[in-house]
Symmetry: D2
Subunit: 358 residues, 4 copies
């Protein structure tokens, strides 16, 4: 069985394991105050062109989300998200457990728009009974989204403006950030672009905080949280500690991000995953299959008939996303296949061959 | 500078790093449902003689404490601890942040007694205004304690009985569990014992839940939580997820605990650390210094005059714990030195030589 | 201006004020442990035919909801409600502030069904990733609902069965309970009934907990919470105190509910309000207007053209509920008019005359 | 049995009941936006010489404390209090339930000092591991304290300065505020004063927020919260609603405070209670008994031998506070007697006669 179910099925990029080994005997202070974390933070600030930012390393995505959102909101505030957002659907009420309502907006593709945010805030503050409702206090987006889609620069600017209009921070969950950046680069290189692709400096300039995912992009675990806004920076390490997110051996996270960012490894492996996903997308498209979402990233969402799904499922593991009705006397469904930094091209070739034979 | 400040200054035991590397390409399901976690859990249940227990792997100590305590208590309940307990002093209010008061008991040595628990509960339930106070709902102890001291079997039985009397669970924080087990084994071997040393099966039989620390005992990170009582087992993975404690690559924790428990490595490295600490204790004792706490574990708390402290501080890093008054015209202070699985005997020899020269 | 905006615009029923005055000098213990609370609780248990129940008096509805739901749920659980439920829409995130997600179900009329609950629970527990989602842990309904509609016995039995199937409690918010009971009695008396109307003993037999609203039914403030299930009874006074819901002068609530329940006053004033609302409904129906919701209680929701709304708004205050589109070249809207225990028949006669003239 | 157990044993001052009756039929908007609340707020701002303040009416003390403290603190912060503070001892963990640790300072008399606050904050921020501890984020004091003692102007200025030094707000719980103000006025009138007594304008000038207690000073229920600092004012009504503290019939609180403050009734009844307490204090002092606390307010804490306690307990109800050891072959104890706005002078005369006969 060759697995395309998720992007966290293997361990870590070998260079990370090597560096963990080669630095193993060095004695460092604990709790993220070591030289590896310092160097990794500097590399990330450089990559973001955000020298004034603060960078913290946390262990996982849910943890990062609940720590940031819990620190940013006041008790009467909630966080705006797409209805399919990770914090709404996949975190067992972690945000509510730190006291806050999740304000979900309809979203056909995993993204939300500045005008949706604006409308929600306007409706709230225009309601004479607004004190009886949760005040919108932050915007949470994922880039790429749960559906593999990405924001353009224009879309992110519109969200920023909506946030500025209402005085609330904009936070980006970048669990799969690398794959979003790589898709942008690939689209730009292909000439499809109109200068609208988001790179890290754009994101750092437009968001109050965001995290660069390590767990799904080559690390054993770890997310690099970048905080640009002064209000959120203050006392942030207290919040990390309080939520159980401060590792005694914080070095373990610093080392990994140093490796990922010192020689462009993060982009290199992300581009590999997107290239592999593009091969899959081409193979499905050549057979005339359509896609549920316009994902240019490492997630591929073809809509397939049941016989094709069964045929592929004999050799490949993937995720059945949702039903897609009946057509030509067959049941159809959307499936999700993920590539990653660890995907082997030979496996992709095998699969594309099998797709061609469908 | 040779560092004895803490027991988390280095990376991980080399065998852990090797295993992470050798298993790196294996594809596994996420979220702790992989074969490594399953094997590690089986090994730990074996070591605890607790086949019916549930074992979960979490990332760090504060996280494990807040997840367990948050899951066990009802909103009106608090958790009993020594005033020096980690949850009271060193977790930035993590327990309060999940809604619960910490009920601190006086403790000269980091331990609390069954009769203290009994008195507190009796006073609470005997108070006609008890509904205006937080109800004691759980007992939290550390073994070894923050002061390096350990519970005897008799002491733990007394705590168990007090808990049973009042119908509340007993939870043990074993961040440094290995060093406590090793100290017990060493004391037993030396003939000092009266059969009162705690081994893992005793702990599993007497506690409702406890965790076996990895972070401070050879792992990169990770704590193995053992839940013996049925009430706490139910739905526990929801709590892990909600608190941000469920790793996508849960295998990373399973692999580490498999290595630590498959060939006795956990005890072997713990015994090494205690042996190293014993060398330090002997060296200080030979010079006539006294100790602040009766710690038989990897933490050593000699009370030293300021000149001795300054002399040692030139070559060695350690932690100044608290002042100890004036004596013979000098300021004295308690210092803490930690050994660990990573302590090199040559460094200990250097230090004991230097102690001898004080 | 004659006001029909809400059912809490006046003070309290005069008999309540008289009793507060006549008992004023009696000295009683505090915190709800007085003789008035005891007598009121006994009367309510009698009215519910629920001698084994516990009755507590709290001050307001949001407070009662957050106290009950916070006490009943475990951290990983959420509460099921209609999307229009008070806890979802009108309590400023009070439930999230005590840590729990609100799981909203679509509802055209303010009610939810047993099969909706069943489907939601089945979907949750059937999801292999259920641990990543909030577990349904309680059902919250309002009777009457926010739309003035009421549950039949059959509907409540179906909800009870769904709750039993999934082992979760059923909780009813009865902020306007009296008006629901009165509507049932009126319908039964009119021969429209098929024995399906809910009376207090039915509710007590079918719900784990519910509250009988005082604030909107003749009291200055106060809600009588009835707890039927053993699990919820335990330690409940701690929860009341912790949430700031325990009055030092608890007698103030006991006195009011004693007056309301000793001679049938609660039903008498509720029936008055429903009779007044029926007069309004008849007046609107005679003119051919339709109603947004099939409310038999004290809330009336006619759909009116803008000119009628403007005409009535000159003399009467009421609430514009929502737009209802264009028809016959006019903008139409649903408005809400509330009667209450305090509504004067002469005001209703004036209004029905004015409706007739529209 | 004549009761001196507490100051909330009766109903409300008759003028309050009269006003509730005379205003009963007036129709007003709900949720504290009525004319009575507006007038009461204006009266209170006048009495405080604090035109810029915001005034809100809440139902009870625990509720007010949890709402204010929950609104003011960030998640990693705790609130400083005397160890005997109401929030530490008598609110069932209400503050922890909204997420915050209570940082208790030793206090022999129920008060804390500016230098204690300063030392705690200095120690916290000077600790290199401060991020592992709860950050002091607010100071909570009671005036009068749980022991009936009062702050002088100098003492409150010192607390204000400490708070300013560390940038944290100062909050005063005035559940028995009237009795503190009356004691100050009485002391000033007696010539004992050095201009050090606190009046409402001093308190409003020195505190960021405080509440003027109604429940224990003549009202059925209700506390008037005065917020002076801009930071706390913002969005405060959301917090009131979220915590279940916003009454639909908010008028009920406004009416009561309007009566208490329109003609000096609040001070008048407070002065009566203090005068009655002074009679008791004199009677005990004449017999040579000492007092546990130097309370000039409505609470009296004589230390009595057991035979005296038993003799008095035959006719009078009071509270046995704590043991006071053995002396002259007898067990002694501190008892607490409370007077209030409702205390009848004839009862006091009876009791002082009986004290004289001891």
């Amino acid at each position: 069985m060759i697995r395309f179910e998720c992007d966290y099925g293997e361990g870590a990029h070998p260079r990370i394991l090597e560096r963990l080994a080669s630095t193993n005997d060095e004695q460092t202070p604990g709790y993220g105050e070591d030289v590896f974390c310092a160097r990794a933070a500097a590399l990330i600030k450089g990559a973001c062109a955000a020298e004034g930012a603060d960078v913290h390393f946390l262990v996982g995505g849910t943890q990062t989300n609940l720590t940031v959102i819990g620190a940013a909101l006041k008790p009467h505030q909630g966080v705006i998200t797409a209805a399919s957002g990770h914090i709404e659907e996949h975190e067992t009420g972690a945000i509510e457990a730190v006291g806050h309502k999740v304000l979900a907006l309809e979203s056909p593709d995993g993204k939300i728009t500045g005008s949706q945010v604006d409308r929600l805030c306007r409706a709230h503050h225009g309601d004479p009974n607004h004190e009886h409702r949760v005040q919108p206090g932050m915007v949470y987006i994922s880039h790429p989204s749960e559906n593999g889609t990405v924001y353009t620069k224009q879309e992110l600017v519109a969200l920023r403006e909506a946030c500025d209009n209402w005085g609330i921070p904009l936070y980006m969950d970048g669990a799969r950030m690398g794959y979003g950046l790589a898709a942008a680069k690939s689209r730009a290189a292909s000439g499809q672009s109109a200068g609208e692709e988001l790179a890290l400096p754009d994101i750092a300039a437009l968001c109050d905080a965001f995290y660069i995912g390590g767990t799904k992009v080559g690390a054993l675990c770890g997310e690099a949280l970048v905080i640009a806004s002064e209000g959120l920076k203050k006392d942030f390490r207290y919040h990390i500690k309080q939520r159980g997110a401060m590792l005694a051996k914080g070095r373990m996270l610093g080392i990994q991000f140093e490796v990922l960012f010192e020689d462009g490894l993060y982009m290199e492996i992300s581009e590999h995953a997107v290239k592999m996903a593009d091969l899959l997308r081409n193979a499905f498209a050549l057979k005339g299959y359509e896609f549920r979402y316009d994902s240019p990233t490492n997630q591929v969402f073809p809509i397939l008939p049941e016989d094709a799904i069964h045929a592929l499922a004999e050799k490949y593991a993937f995720f059945e996303w949702e039903g897609a009705g009946e057509k030509s006397g067959k049941r159809w469904a959307t499936v999700r296949l993920c590539t990653s930094w660890a995907t082997r091209e030979e496996h992709i070739r095998q699969l594309t061959d099998d797709i061609a034979k469908l």
